[in-house]
């Protein structure tokens, strides 16, 4: 597939990296010659130095034959204009990064249609929603939602395994009265796809598949106490903080936002009447204690400086805050975060990259590969892919336990007419079903490759 990316900053590079892995033809347009040079040195793409909203530049980039246009510059208006021009040049699908909250209201869908923007991505809103999902299940390090919105994959680290230790998974499934599936286990930096006789140990990172409603109950059986977050401290009055506190206050949690900049605090206090704004430095530990970090349910570090976020979170962790969330952008720090013992790490650029790459896959699927959507799990060590069962699939109506399924693969969910089935050995595939497949290490491009 031919993709044009206009504006190649942090998010652009992250997307580029993922798209390149999937062998797309990519043209990058950016106004900064330095960016262009570094991109051509690092990736096998064509890079053009120029204005991504200009008709001529986009034509040179091959917009007439491109399948997808993604505009990611920091200016919303510029992105809208670029998508409009790209659409006029004949690109069938366009994605724009639109971050201003003024544009993210109901009236925007009209503009979106008129300008021919297929998807508007708001990285900050996306991140806020992701954080909100995690806060709803505080024991999870990460929560992944799938196309059928009522199913989730929850990543948890089993610290106290007294309830599940030594019990094989098939017995566990009988014991727990809710439907769930343990689909991934990470132990000693290796990811396993467990079978029925697998037993969980303390210290394992476990991926559990369950419906949204059942998830908290299932976690209870794994020894996690269900406790929703009622009070949150957020450091850094960023856009993410704005969206997040809106989501949280709507869910009746109390929110306190701390920021160094008084003007920002005043502005936020005006816009968010349910949140408490504190003017002060989040790095000041005394201030954090004074503002009640000792009694809070969750601590979210969202300042623009990764190092500060890490330090504050470590401090919060030491003060026994049940849940800490740290925003990190720089890749090198991201790699260190696990060693630093941080709880949940959020990186906007990867969230956006995952979303857009998923979209690109969906487009691609209509062309050649049969994947509908693809999610990366466990920091890229495993992948979940959604397939549609087409009439040419041979193994329909055969119970799963009779199928010869590749050992590295797990059928984690079947979506049939808006209903999600967490499958057991008796379930079957039917034509028209959507199937969620989990694999470790490699990407599956065709369902027939792993089931036979």
């Amino acid at each position: 597939m031919k993709v044009i990316i206009s504006g190649c900053g942090k998010i652009g590079s992250a997307i580029l990296k993922s798209l390149i892995k999937e062998e797309h033809e990519i043209v990058v347009v950016d106004t900064d010659p330095k960016v262009i040079e570094s991109i051509t040195n690092r990736f096998d793409v064509l890079a053009i130095c120029g204005n991504g909203a200009s008709y001529d530049v986009l034509e040179e980039a091959g917009a007439k034959t491109a399948d997808l246009f993604i505009s990611l510059t920091s200016s919303d208006e510029f992105n809208m204009l670029s998508c409009f021009v790209a659409k006029k040049l004949g690109v069938p699908y366009t994605v724009a990064r639109i971050r201003s909250s003024e544009y993210n209201n109901d009236g925007f869908s009209y503009i979106k249609n008129e300008l021919g923007i297929n998807v508007a991505v708001n990285p900050e809103l996306l991140t806020a929603q992701h954080i909100f999902n995690v806060l709803n299940l505080p024991s999870a390090t990460s929560v992944e939602t799938f196309s059928a919105n009522d199913i989730e994959m929850i990543e948890v680290i089993v610290k106290d395994a007294t309830k599940v230790e030594g019990v094989p998974l098939y017995e566990l499934r009988k014991k727990i009265p809710y439907k769930f599936l343990v689909c991934l286990v990470e132990r000693d930096d290796k990811v396993y796809i467990p079978n029925g006789s697998f037993t969980i140990q303390a210290g394992d990172k476990v991926g559990i598949f369950a419906s949204k409603a059942d998830a908290p109950e299932v976690l209870k059986f794994f020894g996690f106490n269900k406790k929703t977050v009622k009070s949150v401290i957020i450091v850094g009055a960023s856009k993410i903080a704005y969206y997040l506190s809106k989501l949280l206050t709507n869910a009746k949690s109390s929110v306190k936002i701390i920021d160094k900049d008084e003007q920002k605090c005043l502005k936020f206090s005006e816009e968010l009447n349910k949140a408490t704004l504190v003017h002060g430095n989040g790095m000041n530990q005394e201030l954090l204690i004074e503002e009640g970090i000792l009694n809070v349910d969750a601590f979210v570090a969202l300042t623009g400086k990764d190092e500060e976020n890490v330090l504050m979170s470590i401090f919060a962790k030491n003060k026994n805050v049940p849940k800490t969330i740290t925003k990190i952008n720089i890749e090198e720090i991201l790699n260190l975060a696990d060693e630093l013992g941080l709880d949940t790490i959020i990186s906007s650029k990867y969230l956006v990259a995952d979303l857009i790459v998923g979209y690109a896959r969906a487009l691609e699927s209509s062309k050649k590969s049969k994947i509908e959507t693809l999610y990366s799990l466990f920091g890229g060590l495993a992948e979940a892919s959604e397939f549609k069962i087409l009439p040419d699939f041979k193994h329909t109506n055969v119970p799963l336990k009779e199928l010869n399924i590749n050992g590295e693969t797990l059928v984690a969910g079947i979506i049939r007419n808006r209903e999600t089935i967490i499958p057991c050995g008796e379930d079957v595939f039917r034509i028209g079903d959507k199937v969620i497949i989990i694999t470790a290490g490699k990407t599956v491009y065709d369902l027939s490759d792993v089931i036979g």
């Binding site: 033809e25 051509t40 040195n41 990736f43 793409v45 064509l46």
Partner: protein
Amino acid sequence: MNYKLIVSTVLKVIKIEAVLMLVPLITALAYREDCFYSFLITMVVAFTIAHVISKFIKEDDKYFYSKDGLITVALTWIAVSLVGAVPFVISGEIPSFIDAFFETVSGFTTTGASILSDVESMSKGLLMWRSFSHFIGGMGVLVFIMAITRKTTDRPIHILRAEMPGPVVSKLVPKAKDTAKILYLIYIAITLIVAVCLLFGGMNLFESLTHAFGTAGTGGFGIKNDSIAGYSPYIQWVLAVGMLSFGVNFNLYYLLLLKKVGVVLKSTELRTYLIIVLASVAVITFNIYPLYNNFSNAIRAASFQTSSIITTTGYATADFNAWPSLSKMILFTLMFLGGCAGSTAGGLKLSRIMIATKKSKAELKKLLYPNTVSVIKFEGEKIEERVSNGVGTYVCIYFICFAILTLLVSLSGFSFETNVSAVTACFNNIGPGFDLVGPTANYSIYDGFTKIVLSIAMLLGRLEIYPLLLIFIPTTWKKR
């Protein structure tokens, strides 16, 4: 450095080279020649050894930086030449390995300088291999590998840059592999056109293919002792135009395919190239007219030699050694020019000279008016300071290498004109020089040491100095 990836790439190239030897093998078979066995032995042995060694190398990492690209290219070219020389030695037709190496390097670097005094006595299979090596070397071995194999590295641009000539290497389409494919298809298509035109001129298949290969790579190995002189005027004109067309930037052909004729016509490099050719032809025709006393012969000889020299091919229809010194000097100057960037020609490349000239002009202006700010533009686009400085550095290194090589060759004791023109002809991948290495003579006069120096000169010229130079710099091999 990623040694494993470098070695496995070199081995892969050797395997491909063994497969490519099928072309001369089939030729030898068709003419029932004994050199068939020398190709067969070389192919089997080279392929087996390369295959066995590569079994022991596990490419675990695909990281690849600019340095790795340069080293891969340099080592590949040396390896390819070493393997390519073997059939000449085994067949016994060029018994000395140094001679055979010189001949093969000359083939792959598209130089066309030969040590053979009687080409016609060579077997057809070996002649085909010589000419075919021009064809392989013209567009580049690694570019070929890139076009036909699965992706070897995540950053193929470094290989493309190191092997493709010109100051700025740009891709035509997003993927390096597809770019390589397009370039090769254009290359093959024009070669076929030339071959068909030659067939119409009465050449047989063998003759037309060898000459088309020599033209395509801008190489210049002929199969006759008098090069092209014995062929009909029609064939001479076909080759003259053919050579000229391979001296044009291949990107322009791609633009033509995309029907962007306007952009092609606006190319300043192409315009300058044609103007220089026309002007040189005019002056030389006028200058040599007394020797020929026939306008059509004079203009044909002048056009053929001009086109042959500016594209650094090296075919000859006349002994330009006997021409007046003005014509000789023009040809000597053209030797340094080379064709356009992104063509198969050698030399400094026109675009480099144009950028350097513009830069010098700007610097001179700055001398007169210290506060002027000037932007250098080329093909309608601003040339970054980094690029123009790079061009300056290249020209400087180019002449330093030239001086050192000439000094080393001068140890042989031949005349000044012979030595200087020998280095010029090898370094710029042309072939024939003046005096004792002129179009009617050959390089067999030199001793083994000088032949090796000249072989290095040819490789330096074809790879545009840097890759090969890096091999000789100790810091390259130091661990970070």
